[in-house]
Subunit: 318 residues, 2 copies
DNA sequence: AGAATGAACGTTAGCGTTAACGTTCATAAT
DNA sequence: ATTATGAACGTTAACGCTAACGTTCATTCT
C-alpha cells in the first residue's frame, strides 16, 4: 500500500519513504497496470470519441480542441470513425462501454435508438458535439445548422440572388448537410417561392465533388448562386465556373461554409460562414470534464455563427 | 465459466445453453468488463497510435488505412497527437504502456532515447510509420524522404532549373522536411554546386505558410523553382506568384508533395510526388497485426514514390 | 453388466490494484 | 510514568474475468 500511495502521490507516506520507493520503481522499470487500477476503482481515465471521419479540417479542428483539453486533465482518448454509419457507431459504443470509460463523445445527433438507449441506461456522461439540440442524450455543444442555412439564404436574398442551388454531402448520412439545405429552403420558399436545386455527386474528394456538382447544376439549370457544404467544395465549384468562363460573382455567386484555411490565400475572398471549431472542441471537452467531476453544466450550449461576406457573392445591391 | 465461454464464443458450451445465456445477458443489459479481461489475460485489445497532428490529409489518410485494418481485427485505438514534440511522445508512451496494449504505432523515427529504450525493453510490438529506416525499433513501413528530395531535385535539374529554393515546415521538429531538403541539396550541389535557399515562415496554416514563404524568397532572391513541403503549401506559393504577376512555369517552377486532393481541381496540374498514404496505413497495420500474432514480417518495408510531372514546372527541355 | 470415454459444466485461484480498516510507535499531553 | 494522539505503514478483501483443472453423466465399447 505504501508503494501504491507513493506512486499515486497521495497522502500517507513520508517523503523519505516515497523517494526510496520512486527510486526503486524507476530502477526496476516498473510500469503501473491501468487495467488493474480501472478494475479496482470501477472506472478508467479513457474517454471515447466518435467522429464521422478524419478527413477535412472540420473534425480535425474539433478533435484538436478536445484532445488538448482532455489530455491536460490526464485522460487518454479512444477514437473511432463511423464514416457516417449509425450501425458502426452502435458497435463502437458497445465495445467502448466495456472499458468503463470516464466519458463518451459522439458527433452529431443522428444515432440509432439502441445507441441512445444504451447510453441513457449507463451512468457515463455523454457529450454530443458539432450539432445543436435542446434535448441531448446528456449534454451537447454545437451549432444550429438549420439556422446556418437560413443565414446563408438571407444573405443570398439580400444580395439579390433569385435562382439558388446547393451542392451537398457526397455520400452517407450527413444530417448537418440536410439541415443546412432545409434552412436555406425555408428562406427562399418564404420570400420568393423559389425551389432550391441540389446536387449530390460523389467524386472521391470534396474539391472534386464541388467541381462535379457544379458542372451537373450548370448543365441542367441556370442557378445564379450556388451554396456548398464547405469551402473546399466551394473552391471546386469556383474552379468549375472559371473553366466554363463564368465570372464570379457577376454571372454566379459562390458561398462556402466553415471558413477553412484554404480561403486565406485565395485571390478572391470567399463568402462563407465562420464556425468556431477549436473553441467548440475545448468547450465541449471542458463541459464533459465538469460533468464527469459531478459539476453541473449547461445541458445544451449553442456556439455563435458569423456570416463572412466575401467577393464571390455580389456586394449589397443599392 | 459457462457464461464466460458462451459470451466469448469459445468451445465448451452446448448451443442450447449458449443461447439461453446470451438471451439472459441481453435482457439484463450485461456489459463485459474489458479491464478485468485484460487484467486476467495480461494484454488488451487496444492499440496506441501517435501522430504529429490531426491537421492535413497526410496523417488522416494514413490513420484511415490503419483504423480500418485494426478495427476489422477487433482492436480499438488510443490515439494521441504530439505536435512534433518528442517529449509529448515520451509522456504518451509511458501512459499508454500502462494499458498493456497489444501494439504501438509511432509516426516517424525521431524519438527520445528514453522512448526507444522503454519500447525496446517492453515485449510489445512497435510499428514506426511514414518514415523509412533499416534499423527500426521493431518494424517499420514508410517512404524514404531523402530519396524523395533527390527525386524532385533530379526532375528540376532535368527541366533546366538552376536556382532552386525550398519552403519548409512552419514549426516544430519535422525531420521528414529536413530529409527532403537534404536530398534536394545533394542533387544541386553535386550537379551544379548551387545552394538551395530555404524559407520557414509560420503563418498559421499550410496555405498561408506557402504564400508567405514564397513572398519571403522572392523578396530576397530570384529562385527559378520553388519546392514545397506539400501541395497545400505549393498552392499558397502559386497564389503568391500569381499575385505578383509571375507566370508559372515560365518565370518560375512550382513543385509540391503528396498529391493531395486539392490538386484534382486546379486548372494547372501541379508537379508533385505521389505517396501511397492509405496503402501505407493498411500495410503498416497489417504487418503490426502479423507481428502481434507472432508471424514473422519484413522488418522494414519501403513504399514506392512516383514523381508526377505537371504544368507548374517546365516541360522537358529539348 | 461394467468400464472407458469425452462433452458439458463447475470450482479454484490468481491477474495488479485500491478502499477500508488494523497495527505500530514516536511524541505530546496529563 | 502513564495515557492519549495521530502519522506512517501493513493486512485483507474485493473488483470481474479466465486458465487450469475437477466433476458429472449420457453414451459407447468390451
Amino acid at each position: 500500500m505504501s508503494v501504491s500511495r507513493a506512486i499515486r502521490g497521495v497522502e500517507g507516506v513520508s517523503e523519505k519513504t516515497r523517494a526510496e520507493i520512486l527510486k526503486i520503481a524507476r530502477d526496476m522499470k516498473y510500469v503501473p497496470n491501468s487495467n488493474a487500477r480501472s478494475l479496482a476503482v470501477a472506472n478508467s481515465n479513457l474517454i471515447g470519441i466518435s467522429l464521422p471521419t478524419f478527413a477535412g479540417e472540420v473534425f480535425a479542428d474539433i478533435l484538436n480542441g478536445m484532445r488538448r483539453t482532455l489530455d491536460s486533465a490526464g485522460y487518454s482518448s479512444v477514437i473511432d470513425t463511423t464514416e457516417y454509419n449509425p450501425d458502426a457507431e452502435l458497435n463502437w459504443v458497445r465495445r467502448l462501454l466495456s472499458w468503463q470509460p470516464a466519458g463518451i463523445i459522439l458527433t452529431g445527433l443522428d444515432h440509432k435508438p439502441e445507441t441512445v438507449e444504451l447510453l441513457r441506461a449507463s451512468p457515463i456522461p455523454v457529450l454530443e458535439i458539432w450539432d445543436h439540440t435542446d434535448h441531448p442524450i446528456d449534454i451537447c455543444v454545437g451549432i444550429d445548422h438549420f439556422k446556418a442555412g437560413q443565414m446563408i439564404g438571407a444573405h443570398a436574398v439580400a444580395m439579390g440572388y433569385t435562382r439558388p442551388a446547393f451542392v451537398s454531402a457526397p455520400r452517407g448520412h450527413d444530417t448537418r448537410a440536410d439541415a443546412r439545405l432545409a434552412g436555406l429552403r425555408t428562406v427562399f420558399s418564404q420570400d420568393m417561392s423559389v425551389p432550391v436545386l441540389s446536387a449530390r455527386p460523389d467524386a472521391g474528394n470534396s474539391f472534386a465533388t464541388g467541381f462535379d456538382g457544379t458542372a451537373q447544376l450548370l448543365d441542367t439549370a441556370a442557378p445564379d448562386i450556388i451554396c456548398y457544404l464547405n469551402d473546399h467544395m466551394a473552391f471546386g465549384g469556383l474552379m468549375c465556373c472559371q473553366k466554363r468562363g463564368l465570372s464570379v460573382p457577376e454571372d454566379i455567386g459562390i458561398a462556402g461554409f466553415n471558413q477553412l484555411d484554404l480561403a486565406s490565400v485565395l485571390p478572391k475572398k470567399l463568402t462563407t460562414v465562420r464556425t468556431l471549431r477549436r473553441l467548440m472542441g475545448i468547450t465541449g471537452a471542458t463541459n464533459l470534464l465538469a460533468r464527469i467531476n459531478g459539476v453541473a453544466v449547461e445541458k445544451s450550449k449553442p456556439l455563435p455563427l458569423e456570416l463572412i461576406p466575401g467577393e464571390t457573392t455580389r456586394p449589397q445591391t443599392s
